[in-house]
């Protein structure tokens, strides 16, 4: 099937594409959207120790180059990689402002689906230590990330190198099987329940049970918005 926007499949392909872009001395401004036919756990760069001593499983565990928490990629998730050369003004925004700008772009794409969501202006705080699942990307909200009625469904991260900045985003289009993530990483099933309670997805927000077509439509909207933003 020919996609009307650049769509790659699978985390290994995404990782390879990201690394190839970052390895270029003068990377071109470009992006790619991703879907994941097969589930995998993608850890933040500081979570390497999670991957140690895990039993063998048919769900691979990989470590990405950016920070943030663990993500369970799969058919429910739309991923985005955006590489911006160091010479571009977007790469010279502050970390906070760059997250806010990317969050704003993605939230405007969601308006096409009549989804009104909130872009976090700062990291969410709480006095209740059980409010967040800190080891999971979708277990807490950071600046620029997107929620609806307090439930997160878009996560962001980035890698800043001297030649450019790689921004990555993950958009939950369908409910994520959180129990698979918790089980794979040896975390309590109570965290799966908390993740379920703290997240939503595009399918739920637009009130459909069959989300076929949501992901490609959203991918197209994001692709068009990026073209407008960077033209």
């Amino acid at each position: 099937m020919n996609e009307p926007f650049p769509l790659g499949l699978g985390y290994l392909q995404e990782h390879h594409w990201n690394e190839q872009c970052l390895a270029q001395s003068r990377p071109a401004l470009r992006w790619r959207l991703w879907n994941y036919p097969v589930p995998a756990v993608v850890l933040g760069c500081a979570q390497r120790t999670f991957a140690e001593h895990l039993p063998a499983s048919d769900i691979p565990v990989v470590v990405r180059g950016s920070g943030g928490g663990a993500v369970l990629v799969g058919p429910w998730l739309l991923g985005l990689s955006l590489i911006v050369p160091a010479s571009h003004q977007f790469a010279n925004l502050s970390i906070v402002e760059s997250y806010r700008s990317l969050g704003k772009l993605l939230s405007q794409c969601l308006l096409d689906f009549q989804v009104r969501a909130q872009v976090a202006t700062a990291k969410a705080q709480s006095n209740d230590p059980h409010d967040f699942v800190h080891w999971a990307c979708f277990g807490s909200v950071s600046v620029g990330e997107i929620s609806s009625q307090g439930k997160k469904f878009v996560g962001l991260a980035q890698q800043r190198r001297r030649n450019g900045v790689l921004f990555v985003a993950g958009i939950l289009c369908e409910p994520s099987p959180w129990h698979l993530l918790c089980r794979r990483l040896g975390q309590p099933m109570s965290d799966a329940e908390r993740l379920r309670n703290r997240t939503t997805c595009v399918q739920e927000l637009i009130g459909v049970t069959d989300s076929v077509g949501v992901l490609p439509r959203l991918g197209l909207a994001i692709d068009e918005s990026l073209h407008q933003m960077f033209s």
């Binding site: 500081a46 502050s94 970390i95 991260a157 980035q158 001297r162």
Partner: protein, 83 residues
Amino acid sequence: MTDLVLAESVWEDVGPDVEALLDGWHANPGELVEAGQLLVSVVLIKSTLEIRAPSTGSISEIIVPTEATFKRGQVLGRFVPSE
């Protein structure tokens, strides 16, 4: 001797209580490195950043170890340029 610090500009708009994580040192104390060589990786607000050697030289002291957090302006280590 040069203090290795995460540039002030990186902390723009970051709240006063936010700390960064020292993700890893990429050179050992005393090891000769070239200008621009990667010395240390850090993570701030889910963003990975790099601190590179300002000149040929070597790290003389590691102050913030791997997996420790640090505040804005905190010295992470010290670097001695080669003569």
